[in-house]
């Protein structure tokens, strides 16, 4: 395992553990107001590890709650996009012909639309702040790349002998897809999925930064950065804490995805 991959894994594990353990690490919750400590810098006295915001809410508690949303949304939305992507791509690639053309033409058209707009349009569909809207919006665009990758892999797998053997042996199309195609593309899919997670997280933060994502009283790293940016002259910690957290999170996921892809490349070259 390369050192970069190892560091990324350790970092992500630590962040996830911290996010989950946070309720026991601080006496404050994401929504409690501490009227004695409005906009105070990081300190140990009142256990505000990262300081408080203008309303006296603890930034550590809020950041960790935001991290929980980001991680959960990142993993779940990626799972959704992986499932749709595999089903779509493997079917198009394996069935081929006109079905393939139609299915991929659809992907091309949705791909050509600026995805920020799709998500903004979809986000108007739901009551503001509903996480379902974020899921559907992000999932609706996330599977396109996955479908393309899976289709490409399926096209080359379809010409292999073991697929011919399965067809000759009378296995049904669905059986071939499930038992022969999907297991063979799963490695590539996982490598790309780890690169999808930071994109989803980035996207959620971006929408929340604009005020279209996660709503009060809950926090998102994006909305925390937005609030922090407005107060940065007097209380820079309000910007630095969420910005630093998001930076580490994104870099770690990117390093993980790159590392996995490189390993996969090596593995495929050896075959």
């Amino acid at each position: 395992m390369s050192p970069g991959l190892r560091i990324a894994l350790i970092l992500l594990g630590a962040l996830a553990a911290l996010a989950l353990a946070a309720p026991w690490l601080t006496p404050w919750s994401h929504a409690t107001l501490d009227w004695q400590n409005l906009a105070v810098p990081p300190q140990l006295d009142a256990s505000h590890w990262l300081g408080t915001d203008r309303l006296g809410r603890d930034l550590f508690a809020r950041s960790m709650q935001a991290l929980r949303i980001s991680l959960a949304l990142g993993v779940l939305a990626t799972l959704v996009s992986v499932c749709i992507g595999i089903a779509w791509g493997a079917t198009a690639g394996f069935v081929g012909g006109r079905t393939d053309t139609l299915m991929m033409r659809f992907v091309d058209i949705v791909y050509a639309l600026p995805y920020v707009f799709i998500v903004i349009i979809l986000s108007t569909l739901f009551p503001r702040g509903s996480l379902a809207a974020l899921f559907i919006g992000i999932g609706a665009v996330g599977w396109l790349t996955m479908a393309r990758i899976v289709r490409g892999q399926t096209l080359s797998l379809r010409r292999r002998e073991f697929v011919d053997a399965a067809i000759a042996g009378g296995v049904r199309t669905r059986g071939i897809l499930w038992r022969h195609i999907v297991p063979n593309v799963i490695g590539t899919v996982i490598a790309y999925a780890t690169l999808t997670i930071p994109q989803v997280i980035l996207f959620e933060s971006f929408l929340s930064f604009l005020g279209l994502g996660v709503q009060e009283p809950y926090a998102s790293l994006g909305s925390l950065i937005n609030e922090g940016a407005q107060e940065m002259e007097s209380s820079p910690w309000m910007l630095l804490a969420p910005a630093g957290l998001l930076t580490v999170l994104l870099l770690a996921f990117n390093a993980l995805g790159d590392g996995l892809r490189r390993r996969l490349g090596q593995y495929e070259n050896e075959q």
Binding site: A112, V116, T247
Partner: protein, 307 residues
């Protein structure tokens, strides 16, 4: 080439049509309407409002009217900014957004390409390593993290540039937004250039050029650069599209009166026609950029024209 170009332009029409149709119906499906934030109005006033904007008609009729307006280049009246047409509103912000966007794209390519060439040339030097690590940071970090940090450092702690309280015609306000926007694109361009330059430098004809005694500088800039730029140029289209949508964030971070805020504010206010107008304008822009990139690719690389 001409047939190919025309075919690609014709291909834009269905995509645009789908964009208009999808966004029209999805926005109408959204709960809440543009007049919900008005003070309590009597049913009669409300009915008059609906009638004035045509909301009392069936949805298909509204859709037909919207398309007819589009054909005349009219994006309809804004529902929240009273007495403004959507085209007027967008026209007030678009010049600033375009200035920032295009300046950022130009900066990104002018800085990114030389840095990438340098990194490919001195592959294992510490300078190249630092450069590539910094570029990874640049690619991974979003504008809404980089922007406020830059503003904090160069606007407040060490006030080199002016931040906040934009005054039109004062270029000092635009420097940090342009840098913020250019950073991820420039970083990506540098990485692209580095990778393709490294491949090109290993090609046989480069070895031949070196073997016949050409100066390394000439080999690099005259023989290697042009083919190495092919993937970079094809990234130009997506990059410009990225920069245009990215100006959404940068304008909000630095409080610039560009057109990006209309999209977000329109979505929050359910100002149907304003959101539709913004999506159309930005959408057309993105599609044209992608098309130009594809065409430039075919022009640079003769092998790609056949396909």
């Amino acid at each position: 080439m001409l047939v190919y170009t025309l075919r690609r332009i014709a291909g834009l029409v269905p995509t645009l049509f789908i964009l208009v149709t999808l966004s029209f119906f999805i926005i109408r499906l959204a709960p809440g309407g543009p007049f919900d934030q008005e003070l309590q109005v009597s049913p009669q006033v409300r009915a008059n409002l609906d009638a004035a904007y045509g909301f009392d008609q069936p949805l298909m009729v509204q859709y037909g009217r919207y398309l007819a307006g589009l054909a005349r280049g009219d994006l309809g009246p804004s529902l929240r900014f009273k007495d403004y047409r959507v085209t007027e509103l967008i026209a007030t912000g678009l010049p600033l957004s375009l200035t920032i966007g295009l300046a950022a794209a130009a900066l990104a390519f002018l800085v990114g390409v030389p840095l990438g060439v340098y990194a490919a040339r001195r592959r294992d030097s510490p300078g190249a390593r630092v450069l590539m690590n910094v570029s990874m940071l640049g690619v991974a970090l979003p504008g809404f993290v980089v922007g406020p940090l830059l503003a904090l450092i160069f606007g407040i702690y060490w006030p080199v540039f002016r931040v906040g309280g934009y005054e039109p015609g004062e270029p000092s306000f635009l420097v940090l937004p342009i840098i913020t926007l250019a950073l991820p694109v420039g970083a990506y361009v540098a990485r692209l250039t580095r990778d393709s330059m490294r491949d090109v430098l290993q090609a046989n004809y480069i070895r031949t050029a070196r073997a016949k005694g050409l100066q390394p500088r000439v080999v690099l800039w005259r023989h290697a650069l042009r083919p190495a730029l092919i993937p970079v140029v094809s990234y130009l289209g997506p990059a410009i599209a990225f920069v245009i949508t990215g100006s959404l964030v940068v304008e909000s971070v630095f409080g610039l009166p560009g057109s990006g805020r209309f999209l977000v504010q329109g979505a929050i206010d359910r100002d149907y026609s304003l959101v539709m107008g913004m999506i159309l304008v930005y959408g057309v822009f993105t599609l044209i950029c992608n098309l130009l990139a594809d065409l430039a690719y075919g022009w640079l690389d003769p092998r790609a024209r056949v396909a």
